[in-house]
């Protein structure tokens, strides 16, 4: 699926449609996490439409690149992008968070395209490392991506994994931090500051790249650079805006885990055209 000459205008238009679908899906469900879904849209689209080798009709293809969604609450973003890729019918988004649906509130591997169940933070990076170690033993060369939240980096287990990734020189691992600067109860830097973040990763031995996480060109370049890195894992610190695209959600922690009502949805959709 790695179409290097992808039309960025087309992808930008897709990002708008994805954001609309995320909000509609959340509204129908009546609960869920808009802020971190909206901030990760360009990251997810860059992975699924530019960088990752994957086959929506053959989700278990053994040479596929893997993505572990460590910030497991951004199901609206992940599921909408997967449905758009053709992993499952779009109509199924109607069942999000409902009884008997595959579309669980936090990412679940019964959804085609989801590799691993998460929802408790701080888990994904170790799993991505394990996949990369296994791939190395099998002489496979695919990438293991891990999408991390910024607040999640307050979990100690992430740094256990960061140390292991560098120690084992897991150059097929690429972590992407959706650095939207806001967590459940407020700004990350007032709750427990992560800075200096890029220096932390570099200090842990990672190849660290900083980008505007809403700029496709920067994301593409960083993903290429990460895949080319040797002898050390890479991390892309993607500076994003929580709730990106909806003025009244942007930067507001109250939209971390709350669905829009009908009026709010309409107001948001007015802005996403």
């Amino acid at each position: 699926m790695s179409t290097k000459n992808i039309n960025i205008q087309v992808l930008r238009a897709k990002a708008v449609l994805i954001r609309r679908e995320i909000l509609e899906t959340l509204h129908r469900a009546g609960s869920g996490h808009p802020g971190g879904s909206l901030s990760a849209v360009e990251i997810l689209l860059s992975l699924y439409h530019y960088k990752m080798n994957h086959r929506p009709k053959d989700p278990k293809w053994e040479d596929r690149d893997r993505l572990i969604v460590s910030k497991g609450h951004i199901t609206p973003g992940v599921y909408v992008v997967l449905a758009d890729c053709g992993y499952f019918p779009k109509e199924e988004l109607q069942t999000f968070r409902k009884m008997n649906s595959r579309l669980q509130g936090h990412v679940h591997n019964k959804v085609p395209g989801v590799e691993f169940n998460t929802g408790s933070l701080g888990h994904g990076l170790s799993v991505a490392n394990g996949i990369a170690l296994g791939a190395r033993l099998l002489n496979k060369n695919f990438q293991a991506y891990c999408l991390l939240g910024d607040g999640e980096l307050q979990e100690g287990s992430i740094w256990e994994a960061a140390m292991a990734g560098a120690h084992y020189k897991l150059d097929r691992v690429c972590a992407i931090v959706d650095y939207n600067k806001v967590q459940e109860n407020g700004p990350v830097n007032t709750i427990k500051n992560l800075e200096p973040l890029i220096e932390k990763w570099r200090g842990f031995g990672w190849h660290a790249i900083e980008v505007d996480g809403h700029d496709f060109q920067q994301l593409f370049k960083a993903l290429d650079e990460a895949a080319d890195a040797r002898d050390r894992p890479s991390v892309i610190i993607a500076h994003t805006i929580k709730g990106k695209g909806v003025s009244f959600m942007e930067g507001d922690h109250k939209w971390h885990g709350k669905a829009p009502n009908a009026e709010q949805l309409n107001k948001a959709l007015e802005q996403l055209k």
Binding site: F116, H123, G124, L125, S126, L133, G134, L137, L138
Partner: protein, 321 residues
């Protein structure tokens, strides 16, 4: 009975090397206690399939989960306290919720860790592991059974917990004895009371049965090597045939083997039952034998419990007449 004393951790370590020879899908992820758990034998034999995460139990579990997604069968290992307590969320989410084929080997369980004291003496692991959906929980009785259990969990799919110990134990079983996950073994027949034990406590139970025999009390002893799935048929059969039950475990009284047996009895065939276990307290430094005595986990304590259960059986009008 063979009088050689060998710790269950040794049986595990030796068997893991044999497994490693027969399958290159066996890998070990460690957290710097492989010397103590005996996973070190594997590390020496197959350095390319051994990965230490350093003193980072959470990372060990998650990394093993990732390796299992690639078709490997990772054996993770540490002291029971560190792995089951420190990394509980990872065991729940990464292994059980994802139903990953990872084997969790915990040595140094129970009071018989001895001199290191309460911080190292895990007395809650069976309770913690048993409430996790998908997790199988096994506590072998001796080194031979530890070997069989290691083979059995490698062959079966899904997350599995193997509790091993540091204390040298008598070898109670033979190579030819059957071992099936979830199928308890009767080690001594009896008709007045059944003593269900696991691990260390089985030899204490056999000693207790010997003492009771001298007083004309006939005690059955069952080796309950699998705590989950618990052998319900065996529990009900023993309740019906002996009418009195004693459980014996090197574990807290809350939530372990005794609780698992009681849950079956109350639902299916209530009979008087007594529990020999640590009574909601932490341990302390001491020799294994001193500790078993001080915390009432000796054969004499099982004898007392058995007599009490039998007395209750005679006094109480049970629903079964």
């Amino acid at each position: 009975m063979n009088t050689t004393l060998i710790a269950t951790r040794d049986g595990f370590g030796e068997e893991l090397v044999r497994l490693g020879k027969s399958s290159d899908r066996i890998v070990v992820v460690s957290a710097d206690l492989e010397d103590a758990t005996r996973a070190e034998y594997f590390k020496t034999a197959f350095p390319g399939r051994f990965f230490s995460m350093g003193i980072a139990e959470q990372d060990m579990v998650g990394t093993a989960a990732g390796l299992s997604l690639m078709g490997f069968i990772p054996f993770i290992n540490s002291f029971a306290v560190f792995l089951t307590n420190r990394a509980y969320d990872m065991l729940r989410m990464d292994l059980c919720y994802n139903n990953c084929n990872v084997k969790v080997i915990c040595s140094h369980a129970g009071l018989t860790v001895g001199e290191d004291g309460a911080s190292a003496q895990c007395l809650e692991d069976l309770a913690l592991m048993r409430v996790l959906p998908n997790m199988v929980v096994i506590c072998p009785v001796d080194t031979i059974e530890a070997q069989k259990a290691t083979r059995a969990i490698a062959a079966a799919k899904g997350p599995m917990y193997l509790r091993t110990g540091r204390a040298p134990l008598p070898v109670l079983t033979k190579e030819s004895d059957p071992f099936r996950i979830g199928k308890a073994n009767v080690l001594r027949e009896g008709k007045d009371v059944t003593i269900f034990g696991c691990g260390t406590m089985v030899s204490e139970a056999l000693q207790a049965a010997e003492t009771l025999g001298k007083e004309k009390i006939s005690a059955r002893v069952v080796n309950m090597h699998t705590i989950k799935p618990i052998d319900e048929d065996m529990i009900i059969r023993c309740a019906k045939e002996t009418g009195a039950i004693v459980s014996a475990e090197e574990h807290q009284i809350n939530g372990g083997l005794g609780s698992a047996i009681a849950e079956v009895l109350v639902r299916q065939y209530p009979v008087p039952m007594e529990m020999v276990a640590v009574r909601d307290t932490f341990g302390e430094s001491g020799s294994p034998q001193e500790l078993l005595k001080a915390y009432h986990l000796k054969d004499v304590d099982i004898v007392t419990a058995a007599k009490k259960a039998i007395k209750r059986k005679r006094q109480e009008v049970t629903p079964h007449g």
